[in-house]
Symmetry: C2
Subunit: 417 residues, 2 copies
C-alpha cells in the first residue's frame, strides 16, 4: 500500500461525502434532469465512447473472444445503456417516501421517511454498462457513488463516468456525486473495503472469486450477491406439463445466470411419469443430466451425481436430478444445499405450496413459476443493481428503494417526557 493509494481513497471519499448535503435535498426533477443529460451525452458522444472502447480492446487482444465480447461497446449496446439510464430517470424517486407513520397517545406524530443511504462503493468486473447503470441508480436515490471497474475497461469506464459528471454539472449537482477510481491498482480496492465510516456500503458485482474475496476482507458493510444453487421441486401433485415447462425455462433460457435451475427434485410418486419425458426434452436442448440412483434407474445413460453435484452452481447446460420420498425430504435437501437465492415448487396442492413457501428460507420462493423471475426488472423495479443474498438491510433483487435508508421525523407541539 503506497501513500498515494491511501491519499487517493481519502480524496475520493472526502469529495463524495462533501457532495451528500446537496444530494440529500436535490429535488427529483433535478436528479432526473442530470440522468436525462447523461443519456443524451452517451448518445451524442458515441464516437468518443467507441474510441475509448477501442483502446481497451486493443490492450486485451490476446484474451478470449467471450472476454472481448463482454467488453465491446457497439452502437446497439450504447443505445441500450442510454435507454437504461432513461428508465431510471422515469422511476419514482424513493427519497421522501413515507414508509409508515403513526400518532402516539401523547400527540407526537412519527413518520419513517426514506433518505439517501450515503456513499456507495461499487466494485465490478468487465461489462462497461455497469458503470452507467450503477451511476444512474445511485444518483436516483440521492447517493454519491465511487465506481471501481475492471482494469480491462478503464478507458471505456472513464469516458462513461466523464459523461455522467458533465451531466451532473449541467443539472447544477456536484460532479463528485459520481466518481470513478482513476487507477487500476488493486491496492485501491483494499483501501475502499477498509474505508469504514467513509463508505457506507460496498456493492460488488462479478464472479464468485471477486465476491468471496470482498466478503472475506471488507470492513465496510457489503451487500452480498453469492452463487445461486437454485432448486425446483416437482411435487406429487404437480401439473407435470407445467413442471416441465418451468424446469426447461429455468435451466435453459439463460444457463449462465445465478437464478438458473441447477438441481431438480422430483417426488417419487411422479418420477416414472415425469423423468423420461423431462430427460428427453432437456437432452433435446443439449442439457447433460446427472442423477441419483433412482433417476438413473428410470432414465438411461444419466451420469451418476456425486455429493459435490448437489452443491455446484453449474452456470452451464448441466442439471442434477434427485428423486425424493416426499415434500419433507425435498425441503430438507433444499435447506442443506440452497445458497438462499431462489427456490421453486410446482404443485396443485395448496397445503404443499403453503408449507414449501413457509419453510424454505431463500430470498425468493416461487410456487408454480420459474426461478428465472428473480430479477429486478421482472419484479417491476425498473432496474436493478444486483440481487442480495444478505439477511440484513435488503434481500433479493435490489432496486432504487434498497439504495436508501430511513429516518424518523417526529412532529410535536412541545411534548416532553
Amino acid at each position: 500500500m503506497s501513500e498515494n493509494d491511501t491519499r487517493l481513497v481519502d480524496e475520493l471519499t472526502a469529495a463524495a461525502r462533501a457532495a451528500l448535503p446537496a444530494l440529500r435535498v436535490a429535488p427529483s426533477v433535478q436528479k432526473d434532469a442530470a440522468l436525462r443529460a447523461f443519456a443524451r451525452l452517451l448518445r451524442a458522444e458515441q464516437a468518443a465512447l467507441a474510441a475509448a472502447n477501442e483502446r481497451d480492446l486493443g490492450a486485451v487482444a490476446g484474451e478470449t473472444k467471450a472476454f472481448r465480447d463482454r467488453l465491446t461497446l457497439d452502437p446497439e449496446r450504447i443505445e441500450g445503456m442510454a435507454a437504461g439510464v432513461e428508465v431510471v430517470a422515469a422511476l419514482p424517486d424513493p427519497v421522501g417516501e413515507t414508509v409508515t407513520a403513526w400518532r402516539r397517545p401523547n400527540g407526537l406524530e412519527i413518520a419513517q421517511v426514506r433518505v439517501p443511504l450515503g456513499v456507495i462503493g461499487v466494485v465490478y468486473e468487465s461489462r462497461p454498462n455497469v458503470t452507467a447503470d450503477a451511476a444512474a441508480l445511485c444518483l436516483k436515490a440521492g447517493n454519491a457513488v465511487i465506481l471501481r471497474g475492471g482494469s480491462e475497461a478503464i478507458a471505456t469506464n472513464r469516458a462513461i463516468a466523464d459523461f455522467a459528471r458533465r451531466a451532473l454539472e449541467e443539472a447544477s449537482l456536484p460532479p463528485a456525486a459520481i466518481q470513478l477510481v482513476p487507477t487500476t491498482d488493486r491496492a485501491v480496492v483494499k483501501q475502499m473495503l477498509e474505508a469504514q465510516d467513509r463508505i457506507d456500503v460496498i456493492i460488488p458485482r462479478g464472479g464468485p472469486s471477486l465476491l468471496h474475496a470482498i466478503h472475506e476482507s471488507a470492513r465496510v458493510p457489503v451487500i452480498q450477491h453469492f452463487e445461486g444453487v437454485c432448486h425446483t421441486y416437482v411435487d406429487r401433485a404437480a401439473d407435470l406439463a407445467q413442471a416441465l415447462a418451468i424446469a426447461l425455462n429455468a435451466k435453459t433460457s439463460r444457463p449462465g445466470v445465478c437464478n438458473a435451475l441447477e438441481t431438480l427434485l422430483v417426488h417419487r410418486d411422479v418420477a416414472a411419469a415425469f423423468l423420461p419425458e423431462m430427460a428427453a426434452a432437456m437432452r433435446a436442448r443439449g442439457v447433460e443430466l446427472r442423477g441419483c440412483p433412482e433417476t438413473r434407474a428410470l432414465v438411461p445413460d444419466v451420469v451418476p451425481a456425486t455429493e459435490r453435484d448437489w452443491d455446484t452452481e453449474y452456470l452451464d447446460l448441466i442439471l442434477s436430478v434427485r428423486v425424493v420420498a416426499d415434500l419433507g425430504e425435498a425441503i430438507a435437501h433444499v435447506a442443506r444445499h440452497s445458497t438462499g437465492l431462489a427456490e421453486a415448487i410446482v404443485t396443485e396442492d395448496r397445503a404443499a405450496a403453503r408449507r414449501f413457501a413457509r419453510e424454505v428460507d431463500a430470498a425468493a420462493v416461487f410456487v408454480n413459476a420459474s426461478t428465472r423471475f428473480t430479477d429486478g426488472g421482472e419484479f417491476g423495479f425498473g432496474a436493478e443493481i444486483g440481487i442480495s443474498t444478505n439477511r440484513l438491510h435488503a434481500r433479493g433483487p435490489l432496486g432504487v428503494r434498497e439504495l436508501t435508508t430511513t429516518k424518523y421525523v417526529v412532529q410535536g407541539d412541545g411534548q416532553v417526557r
Copy 2:
C-alpha cells in the same frame, strides 16, 4: 485463542442454527406460551435467582456502589423483568407480516413477507435485565440468540437463561434457541465477532469502549449504537416557553442516557430574550453551562466552551450553548458535530421546521419535542433491544420488527420467462 474456545463457539452456533427450522415455523401462540412460562419462572424461582445474584455481588465486593447497584436484583427488579417479558409476549408477531405485495402484468403475485433474521449474538455489560429482555425480543421474532453478558453477572445471567430454556422446553421449542455463553473468557467474544455465516448479526449493548472495540474488530455485521451528541436548536420563531421546557426536559430528565441534550443552539435574534432565563432554570437544576463568546456576553459566569465541547457526550449535568446567526448555521453545526442519533428544532415557522427535518441527517429528527422520545417504548414498539445509528438494515429504536428479515414469496400458475 485456545482450541476449547473455538470449539465452544462452534457448538453454540451449531446448536443455534439447528434450532432455526423449528423457530421459523413456530406459531405465535407457541412462542408467546414460552415467553409467559419464562415470566412465570422468573417470579416463581425468585429465591434461586436472588441467591445467584448474591454470588455475583459477593465476587465484586470491592467495586463502586453504582457498579454494584446496576448488578443488584431486588424483588422489584425481578418483577420488572418478568413484566417486561410479558409485554413482549403481548406484542404482535412480526413474522409472517406482509410488508408489501403486488401483481405483475404476467399474473405473478409477489409478496414481501417478514421472516426471522436467524442467529443473533448479543454482547452486553452489567444490568442482568438485558438477559431477559434480549432473550424475549429475539424469541418473539423467531430468532435464536447467543447471549454474552458481563463476567460480573455470570451467575445471575446463567440463572435467567436457565429459566428461559426451561420455558422453551415447556412450550416444546428447542432450548438452543436461547443460549448463554457459559464462560467469562474474553476470547469467546472475539470468536463470536468472527463467526461469519454462523451468527447473522451482533447487537452490542454497553459503554462506548465496548461498542467501539466491537465495531473495529467484528466480521459479523453489527448493529451499532454509538454515542448521542444531541442538539436542540431554538429558532428565531420559537415559542420560548416551549423551547425552555423542551431543553430542560432533554437535558435534565435523565442526563446519563444517549438521547439527552448535550448542545443547545440559539438563534441570535432570540438569544437575549432566551439565554438568561434558560441559564437560571438550568442552574436551578444543577446544570453547568459552557458557552460560546456570545453566550458568555449575555449570561454571567459561563465557562468558555472549547472545540472539544461541541463533540462531547457529557452524559452529565453539563450543557454547551452556542449562539448561531441563522438556521443554516445551526444545520451546519449539527452536520459537523452530530453523532446521528437525535436532533431537535423548536420553531413556529413552518418553512424552518420543514428545512430542518429535511436537511438534518439523524436517526430521529424532532420538531417541537424533546430528543428524549428517541426510545422504543416511547415510539410505541413495546420494548426495544437498542437504538441503531447504522445506516443499513435499521436506523433508530429497534423493536421486534427490526429483528426480522424478509423473503419474497411469488405465486404463479406456470409462468416462464
